[in-house]
Amino acid sequence: MSGGRRQIGGPPKERRLRIPGTAGLALEESLVFERGSPGRVGYSLPETGTVPVADPKAAGLESHLVRGELSGLPELTEFDVVRHFTRLSTWNYSIDAGFFPLGSCTMKYNPKVHERIAQMEGFANGHPYLPEEFCQGALEAMYELCRMLAKISDLAAATVLPAAGAHGELTGLLLIRAYHEKKGRKKKKVLVPDSAHGTNPASAALVGFEVVSIPTASKGVLDVKDVEKALSDDVACIMLTNPNTLGLFERDIGKIAKVLDQVDARLYCDGANFNALMGQASMGKMGVDVSQINLHKTFSTPHGGGGPGSGALVVSDKLAPFLPTPIVKKDGGKFRLDYSPPDSIGRVKGFWGNYGIALRAYAYILTLGAEGIKKASETAIVNANYLRAKLKKTYHLPFDQPCMHEAVFSDKNQKDATGVTTLDIAKRLIDKGFHPPTIYFPLVVPGALMIEPTESETKNAIDQFVQALEEIDQEARENPQLVKDAPHLPFRRRLDETKAARSPKLRWEPNGS
């Protein structure tokens, strides 16, 4: 097969697979504020003139409250807008375009049918304060989703109100606090392993807990002894990610739950990596009290370049009474929202959460069904282990053992020998046509490359990706500068992040720039 002659640096002599990255034409585009011309319009208002246009001042509004000209806003036609955002979009890489193995992000296929469903009139145009009789369809979907999430995790109940994973963490911690308060206790500490995602300590601190860090043991997982060591009456809970951010199953989790029970500390499980567990392991049996499940990861809702997501919570019966409002209930075939359950922590977000996202997850679960759920997690695990087995020949694998849904490598082999770092490798992957993995996380692995292929990817895609990384290793040895100067191909070369932080320019100014 012919091999990407137009790749900077050239293809290796005997390339077995064709790597996607090559050179192409891109189109420049200004800021939207730099486009347009006074008098252009891109909108139409329905039925103007049917009601007399009120002068706001005549309507009783004080003149200092009436706005002057909206200076700085652009004036564009609809076509201007189409072309502007079409061009912008072409500067993005996406799952639809290629392999996107960001570790811990579960970039799986986002079925297009979900977008069609979300655009159905009864979902797109529903108002959360409609009389209950008109909400039956929307509530049924929410109710059923909660029911299925509880079933899949093997816990007692669920809510889909939190807006994202971190919001779910915060909400989960409030449930734990409420649980303790109900028992008249004010516990202060939360145990957080050093491999945890940044949102874990941040969420704990946000709601006023003191964070106690626990080290990752030599096998890459938590040792129940280290938990015991940190335990005291003042511990409200542990926040344990399972599988953890090294892609490993926390084997001691059951034991940890029991140990915690001794001081009535609860087990918060960061469920961002639930894709590896669904259908395979029971959170109930693990002793989990609450876990946020990122619907925008495991349940395939599109990540949208940074949200919206949904940080659904599944909870044990211990914590169920404290779930946030409103709670969807089914009474004699009718669905309703309970706005004031007695022990609830109250409201954590407006209306019904990110309903449109929950809806997509509902559709996804209905499509997968019992078998699909199991097949998805199993495939994700096979894919990750296949990648692990192939790549460890070239890249350093700090914890050399079977993994769950992802594997964490490091730049040790390359850095020592050639000076090429994880950042360089990541940037060079861009030239090869791949999104880089998550880098420099988890912090416990210096120069980490955290790779999660998900079940959506084919063997062939993984083979290509591994080959690309092998080529980069080769390049690092033969021509390290090529790698250090990467990326060469995309619309923009390596961006100066230091400059951005040092003299922040965070907005367009009418008379600036």
């Binding site: 504020f33 329905p46 706005r67 200076s71 652009p74 799986k108 469903i117 370049g305 932080a501």
Partner: protein, 452 residues
């Protein structure tokens, strides 16, 4: 399974490379007693047709012909058809948070444009690239104001959206902050200077900030100058809340009145109602507080060739760098919703935003006057309103709603649930540009009819 590519042949090759004999071997990492035995207790998978049939049936439970006058924080504005095909392009919808800026300039430039729009419309110096929604944005404003001021008590207008207030209470309780409510004036519906001053006085020296929303939950346009003055007098920060963002097309921006923080909800910028979410919260403040801001910020920079480009910046505020010392725990936010709003704002632009807001104000004013003249009905508050207003009815509002439901008209939100005693007969009625003259008349006729 049409989403999963693994075939028997691939599987056996891959297992060979891994060096195990079955996928089950890999699952031995999980202690046996924690395994899910047998099938997951949910139904078998559906074909796409069965899925669509089921969801279409659920969707149809909301009649398409409903004429609704609901607003109350979630507004029925016209959504130009051009937005969805742009925003749902795979390039935008199926990309991740832009950690690799060289592969995400589209998302980044659009986010920078969103930040700029928020700044222009609120007249603030800096804005972030989105928050979960208006309620949590307001809660983050409270947390930030507490950090900035080093104080823990807040004077909050009683005319804030009740759900925003609930979220504030949840967060305040969790973080040890205190809220003091400043009631609105029973006659005008505005939060008066006296009321704010009284609340501020209760707070004493621990007062961190004053929160006022305009248009407030009663639809009434507050006087920012009064809020500004009250904050100044109390030596507190001034936090302005905007839950109906199209109002900024016609109403003076809080930034013109020295607001320290402006937070709110961008749903009115063309986001479909979607039963209340996902929406696009926004958050703006003065530049001097930038390092205390929550959420993601996109900044301009240059690439290795000197070309303009954009990156996530000032990450040292954030959880992934600062962990427990971060300004907020936010990671995934509402970027695609912010993009949606950005496209909408670009379509409407300078003149459109103005025209749209004028049309909203006019329709609601017209309706308020008409309904206020109906025997037995009365517009409750006297201060000027934007696109919604409180209507007192001759019967319990819940009853009116259920009577009109039969005609597929939803006359507004009954306020008893939100504001309690004294509001059992009140409806919050909203008329955006979407409610035609005919529909306004239909509501008038229906209300007249159910009076007796």
């Amino acid at each position: 399974m049409r989403y999963i590519p693994l075939t028997q042949k691939d599987l056996s090759e891959m297992l060979g490379t891994i060096g195990v004999s079955s996928a089950e071997d890999l699952l031995k990492q999980i202690p046996d007693e924690l395994r899910t035995k047998g099938p997951v207790p949910i139904a078998p998978g559906l074909s796409e047709k069965a899925l669509l049939d089921h969801l279409a049936a659920l969707s149809r439970k909301k009649p398409e012909s409903l004429v609704s006058f609901l607003g109350a924080g979630c507004y029925d504005h016209f959504v130009p058809s051009v937005i969805a095909p742009l925003v749902t392009r795979g390039e935008f919808a199926t990309s991740y948070t832009p950690y690799q800026p060289e592969m995400a300039q589209g998302t980044l430039q659009a986010a920078y444009e969103f930040q700029s729009y928020v700044c222009l419309l609120t007249q603030m110096e800096v804005a972030n690239s989105s928050m979960y929604d208006g309620s949590t944005s307001t809660a983050e404003a409270m947390l930030m104001a507490s950090r900035v001021a080093g104080k823990k008590t807040f004077a909050v207008s009683g005319a804030l959206h009740p759900e925003y207030l609930e979220v504030l209470r949840t967060y305040a309780k969790a973080t040890g902050l205190h809220l003091i409510e400043a009631p609105f004036c029973a006659e005008t519906g505005r939060t008066t200077g006296e009321s704010l001053a009284a609340a501020a006085k209760k707070a004493g020296s621990d007062l961190a900030a004053i929160f006022v929303q305009s248009p407030n939950f009663l639809g009434v346009i507050e006087d920012w100058r009064v809020a500004q003055q009250a904050a100044k007098d109390a030596g507190a920060l001034f936090v302005a809340v905007v839950a109906e963002a199209t109002s900024l097309g016609l109403l003076s921006p809080p930034g013109a009145f020295g607001a320290d923080i402006v937070c709110g909800e961008g749903q009115a910028w063309g986001l479909p109602m979607q039963w209340g979410g996902p929406f696009a919260g926004f958050f703006a403040c003065q530049m001097k507080y930038v390092r205390q801001m929550p959420g993601r910020l996109v900044g301009e920079t240059v690439d290795a060739s000197g070309e303009r480009g954009f990156v996530l910046t000032l990450a040292t505020r954030e959880q992934h760098i600062r962990r427990e010392k971060a300004t907020s725990n936010i990671c995934t936010s509402q970027q695609l919703c912010a993009l949606w709003a950005t496209v909408w704002l670009s379509l409407f632009g300078k003149q459109g935003l103005r025209d749209l807001a004028a049309e909203n104000l006019s329709r609601a004013k017209h309706l308020r006057e008409r309904l206020g003249k109906l025997p037995g009905y009365k517009a409750r508050f006297t201060a000027p309103t934007y696109n919604e207003f409180v209507l007192d009815c001759p019967k319990p509002a819940e009853e009116i709603v259920s009577l009109l439901s039969k005609k597929k008209i939803v006359p507004g939100a009954p306020l008893g649930r939100f504001l309690g005693k004294g509001f059992e007969k009140s409806l919050l009625v909203c008329a955006t540009e979407m409610r035609s003259a005919e529909e306004l008349k239909a509501l008038e006729a229906a209300l007249a009819e159910v009076r007796s």
